[in-house]
């Protein structure tokens, strides 16, 4: 039996209505989902910028630490293993001239005014002289062991991250590896932050802090001038420019001071009713053990005297 024409038409109309309704509802849901995803993406992008801003600001701490440590440390010459050269500050504490100069070479100045240090801050795979992260070198044995309950110091603690043969025959075959570390960047830390310092006066520096992947290069021209290795880091100018445009950059002016901390808490605060002046004398070493003499006041690298955020990019950094 053939259905009447009007009946086929009515069913087709109903099918079309349902289709339109379903399509409409689906379209609404899709639009809402897309709006939701778009909003979340926008949110994530804004959060990423905040994260980068925070990373850039952390770089200010790193730069200040770098300036302080570079004033006194890090000038050891491997060619003179019995002498460990120490510097005497950006403004030499002995004569007020520009440093850092070592004791052995009064004419040396590793970082004269105008010098720039560019410091990408990725993590090394293994830092120099890294020790093992094993938390417990001498665990207490369980009840089945005759050593149960006895905290024997059978294993050296700490131990180097580089295998030195322990507990077998310990040797120094891999000492160089231990001392050199593994400078290959950890992939998850690459391109996240950097700082850069330029010395503008004896004790003053411009510090640039970045929360992105340009590794402290100022612009593409600087990359190109540095040679093929630097160019190979980014490949093309467009890549570098995109990274630069995507990262926050902050500029500061800071000043280093040779002054370190103050007289210690115990030195002048306590024991004041007796002759503390002799008992806790400056430079005394007899109280080394309980930390009450200036000998325990260890801050050999100076302090940051002031910090000034610059309103915009300085002409030279």
């Amino acid at each position: 039996m053939i259905a009447p024409r009007w009946s086929r038409t009515a069913r087709a109309t109903r099918d079309g209505t349902v289709l339109i309704l379903v399509a409409g509802v689906a379209a609404i849901l899709a639009a809402l989902a897309i709006a939701f995803l778009g909003r979340m993406r926008e949110d994530a992008a804004e959060s990423r910028m905040i994260t980068r801003e925070a990373q850039a600001r952390i770089m200010l701490v790193a730069a200040c630490s770098y300036l302080r440590e570079a004033s006194r440390l890090g000038y050891d010459d491997p060619a003179t293993p019995t002498v460990h050269e120490e510097a005497f500050g950006w403004v030499d504490v002995r004569d007020g001239t520009d440093g850092p100069k070592t004791r052995e070479d009064a004419s040396s100045n590793a970082f004269p005014v105008g010098s720039v240090a560019r410091c990408p801050m990725h993590l090394w795979t293994r830092t120099r002289f890294a020790i093992s992260t094993a938390a417990c070198a001498n665990p207490i044995a369980d009840e089945s062991s005759p050593d149960f309950g006895r905290p024997y110091l059978r294993n050296p603690d700490p131990r180097p991250a580089v295998d030195n043969g322990w507990p077998g025959s310990v040797d120094a075959a891999r000492w160089d590896d231990f001392a050199r570390g593994d400078p290959r960047p950890r992939p998850t830390s690459v391109g996240m932050a950097w700082f850069r310092v330029k010395r503008i006066a004896s004790s003053r520096f411009v510090v640039a802090c970045g929360g992105g992947g340009t590794e402290g290069w100022r612009d593409w021209n600087e990359v190109a001038a540095a040679g093929p290795d630097a160019i190979a880091r980014f490949g093309h100018r467009e890549v570098f420019d995109a990274l630069r445009d995507d990262e926050p950059r902050l500029w500061y002016r800071v000043e280093w001071s040779p002054a370190v901390s103050d007289n210690m808490y115990q030195l002048l605060e306590n024991r004041i009713h007796i002759d503390h002046y002799a008992w806790r004398a400056f430079n005394a070493s007899q109280d080394f053990g309980d930390g009450r003499s200036q000998a325990m006041n260890r801050n050999p690298v100076g302090t940051i005297r002031w910090i000034q955020r610059l309103a915009g990019e300085p002409a030279d950094w």
């Binding site: 259905a3 009447p4 009946s7 509802v25 609404i28 849901l29 809402l32 709006a35 939701f36 909003r39 979340m40 926008e42 949110d43 804004e46 959060s47 905040i50 801003e53 600001r57 200010l60 701490v61 200040c64 500050g89 403004v91 030499d92 504490v93 002995r94 004569d95 007020g96 006066a201 004896s202 004790s203 500061y252 002016r253 000043e255 001071s257 040779p258 002054a259 370190v260 901390s261 103050d262 007289n263 210690m264 808490y265 002048l268 605060e269 004041i272 002759d275 503390h276 002046y277 302090t303 005297r305 002031w306 910090i307 000034q308 955020r309 610059l310 309103a311």
Partner: protein, 364 residues
């Protein structure tokens, strides 16, 4: 021929259709609600980020404390002729009558690095000398170093002295009067000893304002508020160990002058009233979005700057209150940012547009 729907079929069809339509509506409503919640959370996150950014900007540029481009919002630039507020230009606040001391300029020199080897910066007082109960048994060190050019040390000190080293003490006194105690701690080197010879009452002994002990957190105009048990020259660690010095941000005029010479008890022996006093004195709070839709969260950022235990702290907080749930959340953090001296260098001296507030070349 197709027959028509029966009543039962129609009823069932209508019921099923209603269920489907209801489910679809509920689905739409749930989706819409989810979107609204997501939008609300996203707005809350955006506001939180705005508060975070505003707090960091304030930490770096100090605009809430001293609006560089708006003279009506520069509460901390005045003074009474002797004591000044932390944003007064040194051309006003550090302008001593003696132009030279010990052969050196008796003014603040912004480019001077205060090198450690230079005898100008060496402290020459007697560290073992008490402020309140001294009998000068180790002699009169005032003969070596003093605020005044010709202090009268009395018969025991052989009368009128001619101390050779006065520059450092005059720099310290000048900074104290120009900036207040918070600024003084920042401008002096980290290893400074806080005492000078010479007092308004007597030329012999330490200045009481610098080192005489006073009750904790009560008295103004004394650097040392450790109590009565210690009246020796000290460094900034001990000076700020039990009470701290903060930058006053909610006062102006005479009240601000007093607050810049005031210690705030927040450590041992402090109570809720002391902490509340600190909040009133030191914390600047403002709405991040003064004009906002009623359903947006109320976000406030605050910044407090203080020196305690010899450490300078810029403590920020972002707090938001949800108008829908009523939840209040606070994110509190510290940051390394522009110091007071840096902030002064960001601002131009109204008397000389080429100079900053410290007298250095204006380089914002």
């Amino acid at each position: 021929m197709r027959r028509a729907f029966s009543l039962i079929e129609t009823c069932i069809a209508i019921a099923l259709g209603s269920v489907i339509a209801g489910a679809a509506l509920a689905c739409l409503r749930a989706a819409s609600s989810a979107i609204a919640s997501a939008n609300r959370l996203a707005t809350e996150n955006s506001c939180m980020r705005a508060g975070f950014t505003a707090a960091l900007d304030e930490a770096d540029f100090w605009q809430a404390v001293d609006r560089a481009d708006d003279p009506t919002r520069q509460r901390l630039r005045g003074g009474d002729g002797v004591r000044w507020l932390p944003f007064a230009p040194f051309s006003l606040s550090f302008a001593p009558t003696e132009s030279q001391i010990d052969g050196l300029p008796n003014r603040w020199t912004p480019t001077d690095p205060w090198p450690a080897h230079d005898p100008r910066y060496w402290f020459r007082g007697n560290l073992a000398e008490h402020t309140m109960s001294t009998d000068n048994r180790w002699g009169y060190y005032e003969n070596f170093t003093h605020l005044e050019a010709a202090p009268d040390l009395g018969p025991g000190g052989s009368g009128i002295a001619s101390p050779r080293h006065r520059w450092l003490f005059n720099q310290m006194e000048g900074l104290k009067n120009a900036l207040g105690y918070y600024g003084l701690c920042e401008y002096l080197p980290a290893n400074a000893l806080y005492a000078v010879y010479g007092d308004r009452d007597s030329a012999v002994g330490w200045s009481h304002e610098w080192s005489a002990p006073t009750p904790q957190g009560i008295e103004n105009n004394y650097l040392s508020q450790r109590g009565a048990d210690c009246d020796l020259p000290r460094g900034d660690y001990v000076l700020t160990m039990y009470h701290l010095f903060a930058l006053p941000v909610n006062a102006s005029g005479a009240a601000a002058l007093a607050e810049t010479r005031h210690g705030l008890l927040t450590g041992r022996d402090s109570n809720s009233a002391h902490v509340a006093a600190f909040e009133t004195h030191a914390r600047w709070t403002e709405r991040t979005l003064a004009l906002r839709p009623a359903h947006w969260p109320d976000v406030r950022m605050s910044v407090a700057r203080y020196v305690a235990h010899g450490r300078f702290t810029t403590q920020c907080a972002v707090r938001w209150l949800s108008p829908v749930t009523g939840d209040a959340v606070e994110l509190s953090f510290t940051t390394l940012a522009t110091s007071l001296r840096g902030a002064r260098q960001q601002r131009v001296d109204p008397g000389d547009p080429s100079r900053d507030l410290d007298g250095g070349t204006y380089q914002p």
